[in-house]
């Protein structure tokens, strides 16, 4: 239903990369045309949703149906049960599902992160002027979207950096993201760490202010991902590559600062994200009020370079293990981490597609998380340093 062409959307989407654009796979080469992709209605899903909105899937011969989910656990079950074979996930989820860290295992590939940055910690207006750092979260109730989320992992380490024990000193509450703006308004929670649009939405509703953008905790960190079931990808290699081309092209289109405002307008339609355009515009263009009376212009508030850097996976895996979320699995050496991540991250396919489109494909050798350098070869050192 979402694969319908939208009038007014720019066609020939590769304005920036027209010359490099490969010839779309002939329909005859596709093992099947119809595929259902799961998504979560937040700005992170822009590359996937935009590919449908701008008919990019169609140009690659695919007939895509987007299925909306509002709970991450539902989406997890839907994927493991085979209801969807390709879907948006929070970045840690594919690692957990593939390796069987919790109930529900299915082998899969993660070719893309759908976005980098694009998250924040928003605090209730009642606490305006009282929050200067992580230590001020003592005794507060912090809403989080899911255990297997970068939000959960990064927020916990952020609290640790303020000298708090997240288990003891802060009331961490997993909630449905859609309920959290209301929960913040009525005082059921004091703050939340969520993907956008929720941070900007709380500002627009006048109930909260943006305390910190997670890009300032970890620059260009991954947030959501796109994953395809291993069995599906193996049986339908051409469909898999066509999906990567369509979403890759869409992601790089959306990543272009020139296209952010148009994308916000398109995504705001009820058929796609169905969210207020000013909110989406603030998130995507990076020109936004933060709820304390200040205006910001931060173009990299959210990014859409999809390459799955191994360093992302290793930091996530290390954090999952530190917070007891890897079940009976444990990882010690850099090689063990690297093997577990490369089993999931399909950087080879991503690299070949993205280099055709002119996207970033250089592996990142080091991350800086919460001010400390993180070396993916020696993941344990980072948390000790913190």
């Amino acid at each position: 239903m979402l694969s319908a062409c939208t009038s007014g959307a720019p066609t020939g989407s590769g304005t920036a990369s027209a010359g490099l654009r490969p010839i779309p796979a002939a329909e005859a080469d596709l093992e099947q045309r119809e595929i259902t992709i799961g998504f979560f209605p937040i700005t992170c899903s822009s590359p996937i949703v935009n590919a449908a909105a701008m008919s990019i899937f169609e140009q690659y011969g695919l007939d895509v149906t987007l299925r909306r989910y509002t709970g991450w656990a539902e989406l997890w079950i839907a994927f493991v049960a085979g209801e969807v074979d390709a879907t948006q996930f929070l970045a840690p989820m594919p690692l957990a599902i593939h390796h069987g860290f919790a109930s529900g295992q299915r082998a899969l590939r993660l070719p893309y992160v759908t976005n980098t940055n694009g998250n924040g910690i928003t605090v209730s207006q009642r606490l305006a002027g009282q929050m200067s750092g992580p230590g001020d979260f003592r005794g507060l109730r912090l809403g989080l979207p899911f255990d297997y989320s970068v939000h959960n992992l990064l927020a916990r380490d952020y609290l640790v950096s303020g000298g708090l024990d997240p288990e003891e000193d802060v009331d961490l509450r997993i909630m449905r993201p859609a309920d959290m703006v209301t929960a913040l308004a009525v005082g059921e929670i004091d703050a939340f760490c969520l993907p956008d649009q929720f941070n900007q939405r709380a500002v627009a509703e006048g109930v909260g202010f943006i305390h910190v953008l997670t890009k300032d905790l970890w620059a260009d960190h991954p947030c959501c991902s796109f994953a395809v079931a291993e069995d599906f990808a193996a049986q339908n290699p051409n469909v898999y590559m066509a999906l990567l081309r369509a979403i890759g092209e869409s992601a790089l289109y959306v990543d272009d600062p020139e296209h952010r405002a148009d994308t916000a307008a398109l995504m705001s339609q009820p058929a796609y994200l169905g969210l207020p355009e000013p909110v989406l515009n603030s998130v995507l263009t990076g020109d936004f009020p933060d709820g304390t009376g200040n205006e910001h212009s931060i173009p990299d508030r959210i990014g859409f370079q999809p390459y799955p850097h191994e360093s992302y996976g290793i930091w996530i895996l290390n954090a999952l293990q530190r917070w007891g979320l890897t079940g009976d699995h444990s990882f010690t050496t850099g090689a063990e981490y690297s093997r577990a991540v490369s089993e999931v991250f399909d950087s080879q396919s991503a690299g070949s597609v993205l280099s055709d489109f002119g996207g970033v494909t250089d592996e990142r050798t080091e991350e800086t998380v919460l001010g400390a350098p993180f070396n993916p070869q020696r993941p344990a050192e980072w948390s000790e340093r913190l």
Binding site: I97, A102, S103, Q105, E167, E168, L172, I174, G187
Partner: protein, 273 residues
């Protein structure tokens, strides 16, 4: 006329014991075949434990029960405290509903005029799903604890009210004639005649309302509430501990059974002299 021979009593007792043994045996048999079917049904999946097996669920049950009394707030709380929190909400919401609905039901059951005036309101509000009150409660009360209790109140109120009215309507009119010929005071007429006579209807209402309340609290706590069985289900689900769902279902079900059985005992509470 009243002295049953001892032998008869013995025989009656023996027959009762045999009957109880038979039903207990049937129950064990049923439970065993249920677990067997469950095992067969879930054994075939290779999905990394998405579909909970009896064995995994049993292990999880032991884990949950052995940490039942752990109290390390805010983030580590045993199931006993979740259960207590849910029960507290249900008792408060349900109790307040009973306090409002029973007297109101006695009034509406005896007064045609007031009943006809209020009946449309009751009929419009009664079929509203209790969870539909949740956003409204949250918006009005601005407090998740009060909202959860409010939802339980709304879920119980109409059921108790309608059943109480019905119970009063079914009271033998001669009892009320008797009360009149005795010139019974209003208090005596209502508390000593009308209420006990209408009690079957009231108890039916209370039973239905309590099981509905228990049904609703779990759903409500998945949305609001920092502690409770619903919160437990929600948190365990989001940690993808599907085996915990089976434990939760068991605990919720057994608690529901105990609640229902205890409220059914209210029949015995009819006031004597």
């Amino acid at each position: 006329m009243t002295t049953t021979p001892r032998a008869l009593q013995h025989r009656a007792r023996r027959e009762r014991t045999v009957f109880q043994l038979k039903s207990a045996g049937g129950m064990v048999l049923f439970a065993a075949s249920f677990i067997a079917i469950w095992h067969v049904a879930t054994a075939g999946y290779e999905d990394g434990g998405l579909a909970p097996t009896p064995l995994a669920s049993g292990q999880r049950l032991i884990e949950v029960l052995s940490s039942a009394f752990v109290h390390n707030p805010p983030n580590e709380v045993g199931i006993v405290f979740h259960l207590a929190a849910s029960l507290q909400r249900v008792v408060l919401g349900f109790g307040m509903a009973a306090l409002v609905a029973i007297p109101l039901g006695l009034l509406l059951g005896t007064s045609r005029v007031i009943h006809d005036a209020l009946d449309p309101v009751i009929q419009v509000l009664r079929p509203v799903s209790p969870l539909a009150w949740l956003p409204l409660g949250l918006a009005l009360l601005r407090d998740s604890q009060a909202t959860a209790i409010f939802v339980i109140f709304m879920a119980s109120l109409w059921i108790i009210l309608v059943n109480t009215i019905d119970g009063v309507r079914r009271v033998n009119p001669l009892y009320l004639d008797l009360a009149r010929t005795l010139e019974a005071t209003t208090a005596n007429r209502v508390l000593r005649v009308l209420l006990p006579a209408a009690l079957p209807g009231v108890v039916t209402g209370l039973r239905t309302a309590l099981s509905t309340a228990w049904l609703v609290i779990v759903a409500a706590e998945m949305i609001v509430g920092d502690r409770g069985m619903g919160t437990f289900v929600w948190t365990e689900w989001n940690a993808m501990n599907i085996n915990s769902m089976v434990v939760a279902i068991l605990v919720i079900g057994v608690t529901g059974l105990v609640l229902d059985r205890s409220i059914a005992q209210l029949h015995r509470l009819i006031p004597a002299n």
